[in-house]
Symmetry: C2
Subunit: 301 residues, 2 copies
């Protein structure tokens, strides 16, 4: 069964890693949000791509879910001593990724090529694709004005109330090579438990899911998110945060919907077929078990 | 006694550090070559300035003379794994300096401002000035064509035979703020044991030494350099490398010349007053002793 997974950062990476533990590598393509990408200290940073790549490479920090395992922090502490910015905490190994990516992009490589080469170097066998090679920048309109995503997300710790999202550059951007083909040849598309507003929505602009078997896994469990501001965003946009709100978000796209056991009671209100599963992924086994459950669910649709 | 020291990298930094151990901080200004500056991996790197700053800050690697003490190399090893360039070995702490300098330069700060702020952060009390805030790039014309200095020096390990030096950008460049004033108010100028061709010559373009007491310390000891390609350069340019060649290089500029004890026999051939001293600086004590000898010599002129 050929699967395309749509992923943002940590939640998406964990789900992708679960799928990677089960599927033959050639049967899994992960299309990753690049709306969170930004420039910091002159470095081109792709947080979601790196999280997915590090996770599938076994290089991710198992505690945070993002960044590198056994990371050191010499650079940021020295930059702080010099009075430089430190709100975005970059580890030393992580900076190597950004420096080399920045160098390659400036030399004319596309982001896809960079990701492909990095995955080869890190021995990632699955296919990881950015949604687009063109810069797309998620802008968060808030009660304090429009903020760049990382400014909102990291610097301001998601404190400003959101009003609207805009994906700067998206109308001129094309889907990255391989994305449409991967979707076209996939037996099913899994929308990973990532933020619907800022991780999945941008990806959906680049691919057509018509006539595909699409299954989404709710990132909202018991009205809360495991990580990140999705629940807070729903609330501030006047929608009660719940698995139901997520299902409604993807209304018309889905053939099946996966919600957590704690939300079992909501299952009857979902308008597509549902799978009730343990969606919390605390360890590698959880990831594989959820992936297996979702694949079985897809087969049953 | 107010002293201006002209310095390149390691030799100049050691001499400056010797002087810093003796003189009150406000009485020592070090004007540093920036012809070695270059861009690498998108970073603006100032090798000589950093060597002088790190040395006076007590942060320099005591074994190499350049780079940081207790350095780690996570970035370069990760960049190598990704297939990126690694011929210029940048340590992690050192990269922090380059990242923050690059950020500040891009934001519009001058190199002088950056150095001043960094010295404040590193608690360097002496005044360290770049020769110029404008980019000057030492180009080495060789039997293999013209090479950028670091390409020649680090990447090609000084192997190509030199024919000529050119300081790209120097005619349009102005001396950095404070350099001329420092020289004007100095009681004496010390040309540190740095490479005459590529470290000192560029600095000399920016300041006037007329009517000043100028003393040079030979970087060539027994026909050889302690570090770097000065002796090789003299040879390839058809000049026998010796302390005498150095004195001749600065012909007309000097009031006094300092040569090593092993070159004592050459002393009589020097056309200005000489000091024969132990000029090898293996440790902090050597540096201070040489500095004291040179200061005494200056007083005697």
């Amino acid at each position: 069964m050929k699967i395309v997974a749509l992923a943002g950062g940590v939640g998406g990476a964990k789900m992708a890693h679960g799928l990677a533990q089960i599927l033959p590598p050639k049967d899994l393509t992960v299309i990753v949000n690049t709306g969170d990408d930004f420039e910091y200290m002159g470095l081109s940073i792709s947080p979601d791509l790196d999280t997915v790549c590090y996770t599938l490479a076994g290089l991710a920090n198992p505690e945070t879910g993002w960044g590198r395992a056994n990371e050191t922090w010499n650079i940021i502490s020295n930059i702080e001593r010099l009075g430089g910015p430190s709100w975005f905490r970059l580890g030393d190994q992580d900076i190597a990724t950004h420096l080399e990516r920045t160098r390659r992009l400036k030399a004319g490589q596309t982001l896809s090529q960079v990701v492909k080469d990095f995955c080869a170097a890190w021995e990632v066998k699955q296919i990881i694709l950015p949604m687009s090679d063109s810069p797309v920048r998620t802008m968060v309109d808030t009660d304090e004005g429009e903020l760049e995503f990382q400014e909102y997300f990291v610097h301001r710790r998601c404190e400003p109330r959101v009003k609207h999202f805009r994906f700067d550059g998206i109308s001129a951007a094309e889907s990255a090579p391989g994305t449409r083909e991967a979707v076209a040849s996939a037996d099913a598309v899994i929308i990973c438990p990532s933020n619907p507003w800022v991780s999945v929505d941008p990806i959906l602009q680049f691919i057509s899911l018509q006539n595909k078997i699409v299954v989404a896994v709710s990132p909202i469990i018991g009205g809360k998110t495991v990580k990140g501001p999705a629940a807070k965003m729903y609330e501030e946009l006047g929608i009660e945060p719940s698995a139901l709100a997520v299902e409604k978000h993807y209304s018309g796209l889905l053939r099946g919907f996966v919600l957590d056991a704690v939300d079992e009671s909501l299952s009857s209100q979902v308008s597509v077929k549902t799978l009730v599963a343990n969606t919390l992924m605390n360890d590698y086994t959880d990831r594989a078990r959820l992936a297996q459950d979702v694949l079985n669910f897809i087969r049953s649709l």
